[in-house]
Subunit: 193 residues, 2 copies
DNA sequence: CGCGGGTTTGATGATGCTCAAGCCCGGTGG
DNA sequence: CCACCGGGCTTGAGCATCATCAAACCCGCG
């Protein structure tokens, strides 16, 4: 059980050795450098990434030119513009590498092929969508009911490995505060313990 | 094209007359009175409602005993605890009637049967999930980037028929402010035009 | 060395919350 | 028919949270 992608899939469905090979064959691999933009608004992002190395983020920019991080992906996580990937329509978000990355890529077409070759993978991807929906809903409730400090705690739990290896401003954006406020909050947390 | 449910489905997939009958047969119908609770946290909500008449809401209660409305459903809308329905796990939200309602109900099991009987319905329900995910993501971005007034505008656009026929405090909860603040905001909006 | 992005710090201000009181209005019982 | 009750809405004062703007700082990198 060497491969991170296969480990990830094995969390939800059991595959034989042959099936594992078929699965891997549907993916491409790629390497990207820090700051590479993998998707821009207007483009159709009909593919999904599985991160092996590095960090990738998905974010939007609102009419005030403020960024909002929708999700991070560190090794072992999936990331895509869900709207574009699912509906096949032009994206309204960015996907950007924020730490040199190695990834598996699967296109929508290859995914459909895979469903035919190994039907139980459909179950796997359905669970991914469900989890994404559930996580989004929970994040909305968190934003509605928790303070910035509590949201930061939740972030730290969700992405423990990521916490210390990316620009603070991205974390601030994820929890929904300004970099300035985040800095003050963090120094207050340090003083109080 | 009499039936609201069939009209709704026809937005995404074309059905023959026979197929329409098969579809309708998988649903139950029911009537509920104002204030009836259709689902509570801990219960497994492995079914979905399609509203023909009335209004239903889905909400959670956080640790401060504050309600957060996740969604409303007026005639022509679907509503369910997505987590419970998709994952088959105990819900952590309430589904409550807030205006006497007539609904179609489909259970997860009946849905699976329907997929076998009329495969293209799977496409229809997949689109529902996608839209739900997209709407949630947009709502998160709205909460992160818009003021309460702007979020109220969005609400009014999304649920025009509902705006004037339910308690204000539910609207306040949906846009994420206190009833007091919502009241002040509304009277300010009236003064300014 | 100097530049530039990220972070820190401070002063000020807006947004939205809390608590408390009063009001409106439909329903219910005497 | 009226009195009263209660839930929802309104209004106000004071407050907490978080944003904005501006300046200084830090530090890796050309």
């Amino acid at each position: 059980m060497e491969n991170l992608l296969l480990i990830n899939i094995a969390k939800h469905v059991d595959l034989s050795e042959e099936e594992k090979q078929i699965v891997l064959n549907q993916f491409e691999t790629a390497s990207f450098k820090n700051k590479e933009i993998l998707l821009k608004p207007g483009q159709i992002g009909d593919w999904a990434y599985f991160v092996q190395q590095g960090i990738i983020r998905n974010y939007t920019i609102d009419e005030n030119a403020t960024e909002h991080v929708l999700s991070f992906a560190s090794p072992g996580w999936w990331i895509a513009d869900m709207y574009s990937f699912l509906a096949g329509k032009p994206s309204n978000s960015y996907i950007e590498v924020i730490d040199d990355a190695e990834v598996y890529i699967i296109t929508k077409d290859k995914q459909e092929e895979l469903y035919k070759l190994v039907p139980k993978t459909e179950r796997f991807f359905r669970i991914l969508i469900e989890n994404s929906l559930i996580a989004n809903q929970q994040r909305l409730v968190d934003k509605l009911s928790l303070s910035a400090e509590e949201r930061y705690e939740n972030f730290a739990k969700k992405y423990p490995e990521v916490k210390n290896c990316l620009p603070q401003k991205h974390i601030a954006s994820y929890i929904g505060v300004t970099p300035e406020f985040f800095s003050k909050m963090k120094s207050k947390l340090l003083r109080n313990k």
